[in-house]
Amino acid sequence: MTNNQSYGGADHIEALLALADDHLILGHRLSEWCGHAPMLEEDLSLPNMALDLLGQARNLFAHVANLENCGKSEDDLAYLRSDREYKNCLMVERPNGDFAHTMLRQLYFAAFMQPYWQAMEDSTDDTLRALAGKAEKEMSYHIRHAGEWVVRLGDGTEESAHRMVNAVVALHPYTDELFEISAPLQNCIEHGLLPDPTPIRAPWQAMIEDIFSQAYLTIPDVPFPQEGGRHGRHTEDFGHLLSELQYMQRAYPGMAW
């Protein structure tokens, strides 16, 4: 019987699923832009980034499915859980809003994930270490792309600056949750399976402040940070997202391409 808190235990599975869910849900949101982006180049870049995220999610789901105690396939995990079983942070499930919203969320997320993947390269979990090496480089691209847009829009026209400010007000309250340490994650940190997000907070904040200073944006005070996703408590929009994400597997169980 495997210890619940060590490699392949319930906490390992739970913490990896939260990470996989972040990538699956954000990848799904970005894919909604396909064919709707404001220009052709962005119509290429948004689905490309969605593909990166879905690939990273799939690798994580496959890893979880291969763990001895999981008992589910990667498709079961991605497509056939109920809403409360998804443990993604709330930010990634928020509707895309306008282009400014989407770019800011991408920056917040990538600026967190790039150093987090980098820290995973020291994990005691061999598979995770291998996945992290690749994902870290991919996220560097996302930071650069989103960062450039945040500066261009924030330092752009009156209209674009206005939209960028609105995006900051709407999304900043969701950033705290990136650094939340759930009980399963805490156990994984203690076993060296996953990194502690706490040391990433200061460099993350510094990077956002640097980009914001070029974009004439300021980090707002957040009296009430939004959280709950790591415990399966989601926003209303999440159910609508899942109904689309899961439609094919629900309507045609076991279908494969």
Binding site: N48, D52, N59, S140, Y141
Partner: protein, 166 residues
């Protein structure tokens, strides 16, 4: 011929079959040129090809694995493809031959060692694969496939793909 020599010959034949498979999205190069095919080994009449993915979400991975299986089957082996994740693939795995094939095909090969962060963040000059001009411009960070960015040459006016450094 000794048993060992026969075995070597068979392994070489299996490698030749697997390494001839071309990338479905960049058909000018083989998977050996790209460094995606790590090794081929024989266990009895089973040929095991070790293949590594390029990008996490590369949609070509499945197509490549199927093509390798088909190639090994056709060469008379019982094929098995194993996905290898570590060490992760980077553009440094592309062989010199692969680089020159990419260029001849009109895709600017990756210019810098992927190890340094500078490869990602400084504005490296990319030479036009057609006229060699350094007077080129980035059009889009992301291109027609996950592995490419879009550039244009300001001298010969040709748009071209650049194989991104990772």
């Amino acid at each position: 011929m000794s048993v060992a020599a026969k075995q070597d010959l068979s392994t070489a034949r299996a490698w030749a079959a697997a390494s001839a498979v071309v990338d479905p999205e960049v058909p000018c190069v083989t998977i050996a040129d790209l460094g995606i095919l790590r090794s081929v080994e024989l266990q009895g009449d089973t040929a095991i090809a070790h293949v590594t993915p390029t990008y996490s979400g590369c949609p070509a991975v499945l197509a490549i694995e199927l093509a390798v299986e088909a190639a090994l089957l056709e060469a008379g082996f019982n094929p098995r493809v194993e996905r290898v994740l570590s060490p992760p693939w980077t553009t440094d795995w592309i062989t010199e031959e692969g680089q020159s094939k990419l260029k001849a095909y009109g895709i600017a090969p990756p210019v810098k060692a992927s190890g340094s962060k500078r490869a990602l963040f400084d504005d490296t000059v990319i030479a036009c694969p057609r006229c060699e001009s350094h007077n080129t411009q980035k059009v889009s960070e992301f291109g027609s496939t996950a592995c490419k960015a879009q550039y244009r040459c300001c001298d010969c006016s040709e748009p071209f793909d650049y194989f991104k450094c990772i």
